[in-house]
Point group: C2
Chain length 333, copies 2
């Protein structure tokens, strides 16, 4: 078993098929290449390693990698080299934190990274305000739990008096505060409308705009370091690179992968090669992790790299980042 480990580790470093002689010299256990060959033969039969062609060294199969990362995962402790997010402490704009996180991870690992913003739908409205900007436009600001700010300009036909505005604001807040977007259903709307009297249609407009602005963009996601994939010859084939980069640009598929069933847990998920349901990442490994902003509100971060990824480092980095992020968001509350 230590031989499998040795093979994998060597392959991770070099990226080239590893032969029996290399192992026999490289490791401490004094075994001749012939012995190694026998062992390798066994390992191949068990499906942990593969020969790209007769008379080349062996490379780990997906199954081999899987065994390896499983072993890694239950290792007592990973060294965590600290990484500090360099953020201007004062302003806490969610998107810049996320962008920075993606950037740091990509720079640290030399792989591509992608981070998704938490879903909005589950967040309750904390505060809501309309302001008259000029004759034709209202500004609607919505603050969600977690201090996420969304804003929108709404065009109106008539100028509202300060008094009306005050009344509308009060009403909107009374009715909507504490609700999340899914809870604003027909009955709430109905109440609001009857309550608002003459301004019913305006209210409808407003709710509409708010709803689309919250719901609209699906999950936002940021990528970084996507050009890192050129550093790995096995992905440097233009066909593969193109597919991968397209996936990273589109983001949609990857987002879906991350929000797969059953992993809303804190756990770190590893998809090796074909284990991923995504066509584009068949030649890659994807490692995803979850960060939490509060109960039920979480986002994902993923690292995409070659199969022969430095899993140890990646998992370490992610764990690290998770605690870093959790801390930031804790403070923000």
């Amino acid at each position: 078993m230590t031989i499998l480990r040795a093979i994998i580790q060597n392959y991770l470093e070099t990226g080239e098929p590893v032969g029996s002689r290399t192992i026999s010299k490289y490791t401490d256990l004094n075994l001749s290449s012939a012995t190694i060959r026998n062992e390798m033969s066994d390992l191949e039969e068990m499906g942990y390693i593969v020969q790209p062609h007769t008379s080349a060294g062996r490379i780990p199969s997906d199954k081999g990698y899987r065994l390896y990362v499983d072993m890694l995962m239950q290792d007592k402790q990973m060294e965590m080299d600290s990484l500090k997010l360099e953020l201007n402490a004062k302003s806490e704009k969610l998107d810049s934190i996320l962008k920075e996180a993606a950037r740091v991870v990509a720079a640290n690992t030399n792989y591509a990274s992608m981070i998704t913003a938490p879903r909005y739908r589950k967040r309750s409205i904390k505060f809501l305000q309309l302001t008259q900007v000029d004759d034709a436009s209202l500004l609607a600001v919505v603050i969600l739990e977690g201090n996420i700010v969304k804003n929108n300009i709404i065009h109106v036909d008539e100028v509202l008096t300060a008094e009306t505005l005050l009344k509308l604001n009060l009403m909107l807040n009374t009715f909507l505060q504490g609700l999340d977007i899914e809870e604003i259903n027909a009955s709430v709307m109905q109440k609001l409308r009857t309550e608002s009297g003459a301004y019913a249609s305006l209210i409808s407009d407003i709710i509409d705009v708010i709803a689309t602005s919250l719901e609209g963009e699906e999950v936002e996601a940021y990528t970084s370091g996507s050009t890192n994939i050129f550093k790995y010859p096995e992905l440097n084939d233009s066909q593969k690179a193109s597919n991968l980069l397209t996936a990273l640009e589109e983001k949609k598929q990857l987002t879906e992968l991350m929000y797969q069933e059953g992993d809303s847990e804190r756990g770190i998920q590893v998809y090796i090669g074909d284990e991923s349901p995504l066509e584009a990442t068949k030649d890659c490994s994807v490692v995803t992790a979850t960060y939490h902003i509060e109960e039920g509100v979480y986002g994902k971060i993923g690292i995409i790299g070659p199969r022969r990824m430095d899993y140890q480092k990646v998992v370490g980095t992610l764990k690290n980042l998770m605690s870093e992020l959790d801390q930031i968001f804790q403070k923000g509350k």
Copy 2:
């Protein structure tokens, strides 16, 4: 001269060096390949075309392209196939308009595109508002000319009364409305501070946050279709592709290119190969255009593709988009 045109046009289509026989058959003017050869020889001497190696066809040199696009540009009229931005008319968030514009252009031309948001520094403040969100945080909303909304959470130690808030808001608006970020100098600050009395330090904080939030991110930029470059074999070399994509990801350099001296005009700028000061685009052509939001406030959009770009189409598309954008922003006023 019509021969040069023929050569270039053929090369634009095929991407392969074009030989004398091809031209002789392809065009209407009935000339044998030998004649073409003589002409080509002349053209080469004049520096408009180049042989990649002895006994291959000719390809246009940068100088040749330059001549070609110059001819194009003074052509009476380009056919503009209309392209409609699909935008939800109600919400007019600048960034989604820009993203959509980049997307449409990339999809229409099959090249990579990048669009920059207009610079903020020149925009004057239209409206400004502080709101208490919870015990520890204030929300600062700034609306700039052109209905660009920026917001920031500011942490405070004490809870402000509604009255104080009202006073602060009034004061901030009186002093800052109509100014752009560069006009908020020491003397204005000084006045504000003395005026505000006990809240001087809070005011400083607020101005600080506003300033950094406006100034902070430099110029925002969005890219789209960067993976289109894989469609052109001459850029499909991993070295070049990597450089280009990195440039597109970083955006910074490209932004600088776009904001080069002397082209704040409406004009469309074309950089062919080495004409560009950017190392990364030495193998490409870059076409940039300017859109206007109002006097002195403008952004740029650029298309990056291979030297053998369909200049006609690109320029047409850009012109089209420009008028489209101008219209949208006109309406928004």
